[in-house]
């Protein structure tokens, strides 16, 4: 190679990598939420729903408990700590709401609500002010006059004898009014704990912001804690998100350091050459960089999951320089080695890369990103191995280490047959006896199984949530509408249905925006149903005939009913900045496409039953949502899509092989061990009792890639013993390095990492052993047939 050409290659790579680096560091956004990884189209509604859930109130909600020791003095201190903590958190500006006791409805708001009571009370209908109803309600009030508190209640009586305000305030307070409180602070004397509900300002997606909020809660508590022996329990969805991210991050970092150190040490052990070891990382690095840049250019951003899966799939590229260097040890020159290895490498890369490329044409944006990523990454890595490495280093010392001879002496065909047959027997037994050995359902359907959040944390959350009387956050009813009024009217029509569900004990209570504020329609209807002054006065006289009440005392009632008829209708916007307004914010949202209401359910017993009830109500855009099952459904769709794409990957791989090898028999020899290895890799987790999830599936793609690499190189072995030694030895090195790295993942506690590790580890073993066995059999045959096949046999030159 001429000096000029050499410089040109170096320069081209330098410019390419620099541009990619700039794109990656300046212009690339990594998305982390699962929803944007999910498909558009068919499941658009579910996707939106997940998005809403991730940004919605539940994802921002923190549950906090301050607990202390038994004595009564402590109770006062814990209550005061709750007050101080709440004040400190409010000051921080990180939280949109901090509630540590029954929501105080301010005097102004209560006056306003009082004056609107006849529009807000949804028990009011045409009949409410009839003589019969009035008589009934006055009789009830008379009975209540026997209460020990009549001194207080009688003042309300003359304004509101129908007790409309009582019903309104019960509805406004929801379940939380039943929480025990002391000094206006939620305090459970049984548990000796003060409770708080805090909501972050930032969306639940923003995990960094949630972490900041979390740290703020901890430090604020430390400040108020003083010398008292109290402790803090924090829980909630944001904490889970933090815990999941942190534990995956920590574990990934630990494992990647371990894997990196191992790879460097191992490569050094094999090559005994520092620069060579560093160079061996270059193709993978270049592949990752340019693939990331390509995806972010094409899609505007890259998804974190694409990145993680992509790095996994590019693992094959570690093998490329190994093959190159091994061959160079023999030839002495990297350039020559590159020429020699390239045909096999090219076929391997093309089959794998084009195969992975089958993922590009799918509605799943994440999967399609992954296709582009692996296609670009693998081709880049291969080209870097082929062009850049020889341009950076010319010669490699040619000695063959003792290790190589030792390894090769072990690699006899008898061992290969033994190992291979064992694997085949294992596969056969598993398939025939699947009823005994494998789980009934081979697919993992519960996405929660992938969560690295400890079960203890989740249990603690449930406990706190139920003490606070919080509704279920994973199941709710979504009410879509053209505008807020439309949503409120639908929620009102749903009310009797939900009340029926309460009677049937399907739920214990529900919370909706319409419970806090009736629709304009309902308020107007009530206004029209309120009798005029004279009519009401006449009816009152009638109703009070046999009762001891003096009709004249109720003038304030007559006044206020009359005034109610001409009040301006109360709208959600009028409630802004009040306790009711804050509560409405959590239940009602407006967007470009209209308004959405969420109805939260408490004490939900039976998802199916409520779903049926909601469907029977047949209101448009009203659906029961179960976040868990929705997520699981999405995952299932995703799995189906991956399976479909895997079939395409297989078809493309076979086609490319057929074109490359120009021989059906050869292709069969290459593809069979790979297919069996993929099967084996899928069976091993099942044997271990693990249902397969999408991480196993993506790992199977890597197994196919690695397997193809092994099979093609083994297949390239002819009767040239020296060449055969080089190929076998370099494959041993490749397999050991992959095996070690993925075995580290396999022992991880993080479900996702474990799934990848166990699948790839078993796949690598099977692919290596089976390709080796197939090539041994073939060579054995070739020896027997005395070279008759040689003309048809694959050779490097044919392909070149």
């Amino acid at each position: 190679m001429g000096v000029r050409k050499l410089l040109l290659i170096r320069l081209t790579w330098f410019i390419l990598l620099t541009l990619a680096l700039l794109q990656v560091f300046i212009n690339t956004q990594v998305q982390t939420d699962i929803a944007s990884f999910m498909p558009a189209g068919k499941n658009e509604q579910q996707r939106q729903l997940l998005e809403e859930f991730q940004q919605g109130p539940a994802a921002r909600l923190w549950l906090i408990a301050i607990t202390g020791e038994a004595s009564d003095a402590d109770a006062q201190q814990i209550i005061s700590q709750s007050k101080q903590l709440a004040a400190s958190l409010r000051r921080s500006g990180l939280f949109s709401s901090v509630v540590n006791g029954s929501v105080a409805i301010g005097d102004r708001l209560s006056k306003r609500l009082f004056s609107y009571r006849y529009l807000l009370d949804d028990s009011i209908d045409e009949d409410s002010f009839s003589v019969t109803e009035l008589k009934l309600t006055f009789q009830q009030r008379l009975d209540e006059m026997t209460s020990p508190f009549s001194s207080f209640s009688k003042q309300l009586l003359i304004y509101d004898p129908t007790a409309a305000m009582r019903r309104v305030s019960v509805r406004l307070q929801g379940n939380q009014s039943t929480l025990e409180s002391q000094d206006k602070v939620w305090y459970s004397s049984k548990e000796k704990e003060a409770l708080l509900i805090v909501s972050s300002k930032e969306s639940g997606r923003n995990i960094d912001a949630q972490k900041k909020a979390y740290n703020r809660i901890l430090s604020a508590f430390e400040q108020v804690q003083g010398s008292i022996n109290s402790s803090l329990i924090v829980s909630g969805e944001p904490l889970f998100a933090i815990a999941a991210r942190d534990s995956i991050r920590k574990e990934s970092r630990r494992l990647s350091i371990a894997a990196g150190v191992f790879m460097l040490a191992f490569m050094f052990f094999v090559f005994r050459n520092g620069p060579l070891v560093l160079l061996s990382l270059l193709p993978l690095g270049a592949g990752l960089l340019i693939a990331t840049a390509a995806v972010s250019l094409l899609y505007g951003s890259i998804h974190g999951i694409t990145l993680a899966f992509g790095i996994t799939l590019l693992g094959v590229a570690i093998d490329y320089p190994v093959h190159l260097f091994m061959h160079a040890k023999k030839t002495g020159s990297l350039q020559q080695a590159a020429t020699r290895v390239w045909p096999i490498l090219r076929l391997g890369v093309l089959t794998t890369a084009l195969g992975y490329g089958a993922m590009i044409w799918t509605g799943f944006s994440g999967l399609s990103q992954l296709g582009v990523f692996s296609l670009v990454g693998l081709i880049t890595a291969a080209l870097a191995t082929q062009t850049l490495l020889p341009a950076l280093k010319r010669d490699v010392s040619g000695e063959i280490p003792v290790l190589q001879r030792r390894v090769l002496s072990l690699m006899n065909s008898r061992l290969s047959s033994l190992a291979g047959i064992t694997l085949l027997v294992f596969i056969l037994v598993s398939l025939l006896g699947h009823k005994f050995f494998l789980p009934d359902d081979i697919w993992s359907r519960d996405i929660a199984a992938l969560s690295p959040v400890p079960a203890k944390l989740i249990q603690q959350d449930r406990m706190l949530g139920s003490r606070l009387g919080l509704p279920e956050v994973t199941s709710m009813i979504r009410v879509g509408g053209s505008d807020v009024e439309d949503v409120l009217r639908k929620e009102e029509r749903l009310k009797p249905v939900l009340e029926q569900a309460i009677r049937e004990k399907t739920i214990t209570s529900f919370r909706s925006a319409a419970e806090l504020l009736p629709s304009i329609h309902s308020q107007q209807l009530r206004q029209s149903q309120l009798p005029d002054r004279e009519a009401l006065s006449r009816r009152m006289d009638n109703a009070l005939q046999d009762l001891p009440f003096k009709a004249a005392s109720f003038k304030p009632f007559l006044d206020e009913v009359e005034e109610s008829k001409s009040l301006a209708i109360l709208k959600p916007t009028d409630m802004r900045g009040t306790a009711v307004g804050t509560a409405l914010d959590g239940l009602l949202s407006t967007g470009d496409r209209g308004a959405t209401g969420l109805i939260y359910l408490t004490g939900l017993q039976d998802n199916k039953a409520i779903e049926k009830i909601i469907r029977a109500a047949a209101l448009p855009q009203v659906t029961f949502i179960n976040i868990k099952s929705a997520t699981n459904e999405l995952m299932q769709d995703f799995r189906q899509e991956i399976l479909l794409r895997m079939a395409w990957v297989a078809v493309i791989i076979v086609l490319v092989l057929l074109m490359g090898l120009k021989s059906i028999l050869q292709s069969f020899r290459v593809i069979t061990p790979v297919a069996l290895a993929v099967l084996f890799a899928a069976l091993v987790p099942l044997w271990l009792g693990e249902a397969l999830n999408i991480f196993h599936l993506v790992s199977l793609l890597l197994v196919a890639g690695l397997g193809l690499d092994y099979a093609l190189f083994f297949n390239s072995i002819r009767d040239d013993q020296e060449n055969a030694d080089t190929v076998v030895y370099s494959l041993v090195i490749c397999a050991i390095s992959s095996l070690a790295v993925f075995a580290m993942l396999a022992v991880s506690n993080i479900p996702v990492l474990h799934a990848i590790g166990i699948t790839v580890t078993s796949g690598v073993i099977a692919a290596f052993v089976l390709s080796w066995m197939f090539s041994s059999i073939q060579r054995g045959k070739m020896k027997d047939e005395g070279g008759h096949c040689r003309e048809r046999a694959f050779s490097a030159k044919e392909l070149n």
């Binding site: 006791g101 020990p148 508190f149 009549s150 001194s151 207080f152 409180s181 000094d183 001891p548």
Partner: protein, 194 residues
């Protein structure tokens, strides 16, 4: 000295001697009240109210469980039970139970003390919320309570309790508008009411 001024003198002297003695008597009464643990009595009540043409009569049962649980079950004319402890009020009517936190009703809380603190012999709490006038002795006594809290005085003018030994025999509430509630308490020997 006229006979009238002699009487006056004696009365004054008697008053001076008597006042500290009265305070002692109140403390004694409270101690003996405190000595009684749980109580159950029946009551009859008459309410005269501005909004009502006629008096409203009711009767029922009162139960006190130390230190702070009061249960008042109205039996006639309708059955309603009110249970109050230091934190919440529970109302049970026709099988339906409602619970309200007393946090939102601080005046009710103080008002309840006019009865609970006497039963519990809790003089400190009583003094905190009411100015007290005690007359009589341990055998037959009368306590008049006037709320110290300005807000409470807009509802309740005064409360009068009278009794014999450690039994309360009557409890009378006069509201600020003149409405009157008269409650007579009887020992449960006459359990006919149940």
């Amino acid at each position: 000295m006229t006979s009238g001024s002699v009487i006056k003198y004696f009365l004054l002297a008697g008053l001076f001697v008597y006042l500290p003695a009265q305070a002692d008597e109140l403390e004694n009464l409270m101690r003996s009240m405190a000595a009684v643990k749980n109580r159950v009595v029946v009551y009859k009540e008459e309410k005269q109210m501005e909004v009502l043409e006629d008096s409203l009569y009711s009767e029922g049962r009162l139960e006190f469980i130390v230190p702070n649980k009061l249960i008042r079950c109205v039996i006639k004319p309708v059955k309603i039970c009110y249970t109050i402890d230091s934190r919440q009020l529970t109302i049970e009517k026709a099988g339906k139970i409602q619970t309200r936190s007393l946090d939102n009703f601080p005046l009710v809380r103080v008002f309840v003390e006019s009865f609970r603190a006497v039963l519990a012999g809790d003089l400190a709490t009583l003094k905190k919320h009411y100015s007290i006038i005690f007359t009589g002795d341990l055998v037959a006594w009368e306590i008049t309570l006037r709320p110290k809290d300005k807000k409470l005085t807009t509802y309740v003018k005064k409360i009068e309790l009278s009794g014999v030994g450690d039994d309360i025999q009557s409890y009378i509430v006069e509201d600020s508008n003149g409405d009157l509630t008269r409650m007579q308490l009887y020992q449960t020997d006459s359990e006919a009411i149940e």
